[in-house]
């Protein structure tokens, strides 16, 4: 099981260590540092590193490496999932997960890690339960604690921990009972030079914020559940009911949680048709050319909406890693602002909203190193955008019902589409 945890910052210092079994010397991290040095980019450090007597399994989040030390055969995914859970918990507790935040709350961090793992076995990782055991720090509570001498640690056995619904605490009370669901879809796509789609898939999630009194039992049904044939559920969802009726039936955790994540690829959208039929909301016309022997290159980029279901495309951000040979750029955007960092060669253009009547474009020239040969690689264009009030796959919630409690909750559902890894090759 998990032996120890080291937190390493981007400059390679260990700023926190925690051991659940015997103490493992810090020097074990030297192997990690070696790998870190070898990696060209921080994110290229391999997640599993063998050392003579231990294995180091790490994740990189918020520019902090969480390095777990294991000694025997332990499923690596188990360790990685757990580390991500640790990060999520820190973020949940402190708002951000930074070195400063962790150091500011070191005692809470220690208490949390102690509760999350016992002898390397996960103990309490559900946020609902943890918060009952250890109250998240707030400015107000710190002041109150200092004055009254009370503590952050709960006095009672966390009630949820042993009930049939371990994710929900008992005795929840709200004056305003509300349940909100956000359907958020991210589209990952690779578009080739000619504008045709190589791959396109949708990663969707339904995030919920449920503040309901008592033990409500909810059902959520969809207009088109057929879309959802590749899903991962929160443990609260009754799988049998879903299999039989395609209805989500569950007793929700209290507060924020991810009810469901799903994956829609071209296959399950249109079983008989080809990939290009996942709706691609934006198109890019580009002309990036370098000529042999010339120290100038041409750069032209125009964006336009494609299949957006009548909704506006906003928060558009274009970025591209230009070839190393590019010294500088001289470009004119028709809207928004653009920057080019001559050191990292990163071009980024904050476009804003796309107006279908007047398409945004970025045109101009690039100056190249004089005398150098024409760059070998073609830059890839990365696009981010948002479309409000629509889920790209067309997924629609039909209705939400509540059983088991008498009051009438306030219900709300929001849809949003975002670009995930949306890449256009040139």
């Amino acid at each position: 099981m998990i032996h120890s945890l080291f937190l390493v910052n981007s400059s390679g210092d260990i700023f926190l260590e925690k051991h659940w079994k015997s103490v493992v010397s810090r020097s074990v991290c030297d192997y990690f540092f070696e790998a870190q040095e070898r990696a060209s980019e921080p994110e290229n450090v391999p997640p599993v590193i063998p050392t003579p007597h231990h294995y180091l399994i790490s994740v990189l989040r918020h520019r902090i490496y969480f390095v777990a030390v294991i000694q025997s055969e332990v499923p690596p995914l188990f360790v990685i999932e757990f580390l991500h859970r640790v990060v999520d918990t820190f973020q949940d507790y402190f708002g951000v997960c930074t070195e400063a935040a962790i150091k500011d709350n070191v005692v809470v961090v220690y208490e949390l890690l102690e509760e999350m793992l016992d002898n390397g076995f996960p103990l309490a990782t559900e946020s609902n339960i943890l918060k009952e055991l250890i109250k998240p720090p707030t400015i107000l509570r710190t002041v109150v604690n200092t004055i009254t001498g009370s503590t952050n640690v709960g006095e009672q056995l966390p009630t949820g921990q042993l009930s049939v619904v371990p994710w929900r605490r008992t005795g929840v009370k709200y004056t305003n009972n509300e349940a909100y669901f956000d359907v958020v879809e991210e589209i990952d796509a690779i578009i080739d030079k000619s504008g045709s789609t190589i791959t396109a898939e949708i990663q969707g999630v339904i995030d919920a914020c449920v503040k309901l009194t008592g033990m409500p039992d909810l059902t959520l049904s969809f207009m088109n559940p057929r879309l959802l044939d590749d899903v991962s559920f929160h443990p609260c969802v009754r799988f049998k009911r879903w299999e039989a009726e395609r209805i989500l039936s569950f007793i929700p955790p209290d507060g924020n949680f991810r009810l469901l994540s799903y994956h829609v690829s071209s296959q399950n959208l249109h079983p008989l048709r080809s990939a290009s039929l996942v709706a691609i909301p934006v198109y890019v016309k580009h002309n990036i050319t370098f000529r042999e022997g010339s120290s100038q290159g041409r750069f032209e980029l125009t964006l336009g909406p494609k299949q957006t279901m009548g909704k506006g495309v906003e928060a558009v951000l274009v970025s591209s890693q230009l070839p190393r040979g590019v010294l500088n750029t001289n470009l004119n955007p028709t809207q928004g602002t653009y920057t080019f960092d001559p050191v990292t060669k990163l071009l980024s253009w904050d476009v804003g909203k796309i107006n279908p009547q007047k398409l945004p474009s970025l045109k101009g020239s690039m100056s190249l190193q004089a005398g150098a040969s024409k760059p070998d690689e073609n830059p890839t264009i990365n696009i981010q955008f948002k479309i409000q009030q629509s889920a790209l796959s067309g997924l629609k919630v039909n209705r939400l019902d509540m059983y088991g409690e008498k009051y009438k909750p306030f219900k709300g559902i929001k849809y949003m589409t975002k670009a995930g890894k949306f890449q256009v090759r040139t």
């Binding site: 099981m1 926190l16 260590e17 925690k18 079994k21 015997s22 103490v23 810090r26 060209s40 994110e43 391999p46 599993v48 294995y55 790490s58 989040r61 055969e73 499923p75 690596p76 188990f78 990685i80 999932e81 150091k103 500011d104 709350n105 070191v106 005692v107 208490e111 002898n119 076995f121 996960p122 720090p137 001498g149 640690v153 006095e155 056995l157 042993l162 990952d188 690779i190 080739d192 190589i198 791959t199 898939e201 044939d229 590749d230 899903v231 991962s232 443990p235 799988f239 049998k240 299999e243 994540s261 690829s265 296959q267 890693q321 070998d376 690689e377 073609n378 990365n382 890894k421 890449q423």
Partner: protein
Amino acid sequence: MEWANQLCENRQFGSKMTDSKYFTTTKKGEIFELKAELNSDKKEKKKEAVKKVIASMTVGKDVSALFPDVVNCMQTDNLELKKLVYLYLMNYAKSQPDMAIMAVNTFVKDCEDPNPLIRALAVRTMGCIRVDKITEYLCEPLRKCLKDEDPYVRKTAAVCVAKLHDINAQLVEDQGFLDTLKDLISDSNPMVVANAVAALSEIAESHPNSNLLDLNPQSINKLLTALNECTEWGQIFILDCLANYTPRDDRESQSICERVTPRLSHANSAVVLSAVKVLMKFMEMLPKDLDYYGTLLKKLAPPLVTLLSAEPELQYVALRNINLIVQKRPEILKHEMKVFFVKYNDPIYVKLEKLDIMIRLASQANIAQVLAELKEYATEVDVDFVRKAVRAIGRCAIKVEQSAERCVSTLLDLIQTKVNYVVQEAIVVIKDIFRKYPNKYESVIATLCENLDSLDEPEARAAMIWIVGEYAERIDNADELLESFLEGFHDESTQVQLQLLTAIVKLFLKKPTETQELVQQVLSLATQDSDNPDLRDRGYIYWRLLSTDPVAAKEVVLAEKPLISEETDLIEPTLLEELICHIGTLASVYHKPPSAFVEGSRGVMHKRLPARTGSGEGTESPDVGNVAGGSAPEAAPSIIPSQGDLLGDLLNLDLAPPTTTGPPPPTSGMQMGGMDLLGGGLDSLLGGDIGGSPAMGAGFGAAPAVMPASLNAPVGGGLGDLFDLGGGVGMPMGAYIPPKTVWLPAMKAKGLEISGTFARRAGVIQMELVLTNKAMSVMTDFAIQFNRNSFGLAPAGPLQVLTPLGPNQTIEVSLPLSTVGPVMKMDPLNNLQVAVKNNIDVFYFSCQYPISMLFVEDGKMERQVFLATWKDIPNDNESQFQIQDCHLNSDAASNKLQGSNIFTIAKRTVEGQDMLYMAIKLSNGIWVLAELKMQAGNPNYTISLKCRAPEVSQCVFQCYEAVLKN
């Protein structure tokens, strides 16, 4: 003092109200100050002080001096303060065992607390205090907690048993905790069940032979029920445990699969992968014509695809496992090629894995798309990735014949880019394409030759030279090209030198008139001016061949080469089966069997996929399932029992050539053209029945006798070299080989006498057998099989007795052995039980191999690593032996030992006493460290051995004795 506290307090209020203040007190006398605060009457001050102590502890400051003061704070009603003190205790109890005893009473009292949270906390903390004296006091409270009315306490206590076992295994067994733990598997609470399973699994890992997790249909049913209700982590433990079970029939298998399938939709990827493991394993048992089988296959694809949208670290582990799954069952993901397309900002480790899987999934249907992608990747920035992409194009050509032409033209396009490393990679793969499809694409040679000058990497140079040599007849200026390489012959790497030698010989055989000078030049460079034995030896062979019988030379050197196939990069089937049983583990990430890298002889059981039972395919080795099912083999008997159960055990694989290996795999054949000379070429040279390296020695041994004296070569040294080859290729000093002994007397085996010994030659373990027929009739159909043994020794090929053995005839056979067979601990450890079959009967005998056979060549260790490892191994694991009556000085001893892969890491001389520090690595990854003390003039040496698996020490010592005295 009060004043100082005040000051501290003020400062705290002045600054931000966070824990970071605990880091700021770095003034002198900090410990002193904390001590005073800890002893303060005010509760609040005490707590603040403990927090500061904890903060110091987290950043690695030593605050152990405050131990008594902190422990004094333990008697409190304040839960947070109690927890903080517990945290401190866990960290420092080991360094202050006597003080820690002081805390025992509080623990015992807390275990009786009405609040279950406190009871659980107390029992949890006590288990974390790794002090022997305390563990004794822990037993009673733990026993109570295991039967506590509150499931929260029970589940905490279950884990505590595992902790205690880690500290004192004997105690846990004596106290009967293991039985209580087993009872908890039937607990009414799913979380308790999950924790009991987790604890038992962990304990079982250090007790491979104990029957802890006794899985039967009843307990399986309980686990499956708990699976639905326990936490995600519990689900992982239960699924991993289920994967060790072998269902009785296909019906049970199907019902388990049905109950596990919903886990594929879990949000936790570790749960998903563990479920995939169970399904992949149990699916083996389902008849293929069953509807459910098809349904299950379809259900497996979406969750695997979903894993690829997770964080990159998760993706990496998932991809490594998918790599195994697509090799075992390509049908699952055959339509999902696109999800493996690389995004330009994927981390490099994800990119490389995706690429690998793309090639495995490549088929005629999708090859166009794949090639377009690969070409795109070849223009990316990352050099490693680009190289691998170019290689991938070559692999596609070899895998999908219809695509070969397109691949070649893609590669030519890439060569036109003139990007140096792309060109070099392309040439390396084009060489392979030539070998796969001879006489098809040679028209491109001209283009390749244009790039000759830009090649600076050995592999690319070697590939190019191979091409020039192979197609010398079509390249007009082949001699010029090769000559140009010859100029810097001595600066080239061995790979290039060998290739150049072969290529020029080929050229000579094809165009003898113009190239005589060239060939003489290269032969003399290779034989006279080179220090490399491989090069010299190959040079001599060619020289002799050419000068005695040019026709034979032509037959040998220009022999038709075996075709290469894409199978070369697939994982060997038995290993793949084992890895499929280990999906989701470290073994699956490294694609090595668990025994190969988890240190120590944990006696890792080799897992096998169950056999398909039920309709239709019941004939398929029905007893394999049995073997996989028996989770705990009984201790091995030292005498061979008569037939009976052993027969089933030993011979369940039918004594035909073992299924584990086919003919010598072509892997090495494709690495460089030259290799095939020693394999394929020598085959014809020596009569064709040699097959692999084992008999090579004999062939070489006989050769020099006919070596013509006219060769002008420095015969002395040369002959020595050739003779050396017989002893062991490329080894500075022969490894110790014990004399042959009679293993099976003729009277016990109906006239077949077997004697033999073991040797390690060039990294290959060989069993050298002498079979004598003392019966009246001819013996044929020899085959051999081993019982499971401590180090997984197994024949790596069939027993090569090709001709019938007539009466009074004797034959010597070398049998190469691998160490990937099934493992079972034997007593003595190096005991090997063998069954030999011939046309008359099956015979059994047992023999002991010197453990030095298992010492691998890469057993050298860095000094620092040695030192750290030496310290790290507990002193209990050290054993001392005397070697008597040995008259070697330390250097001679060291040399002698090195021949057997016992490497001297350091030498120290203290007061006339030489101390040699040595390291040995066993084939299963166990390290043995040794200290050899020798006094000048004293023929008795003292040797201390340290090893994580101390049971090997005795055998290692015997080896030392044998090696040093021979």
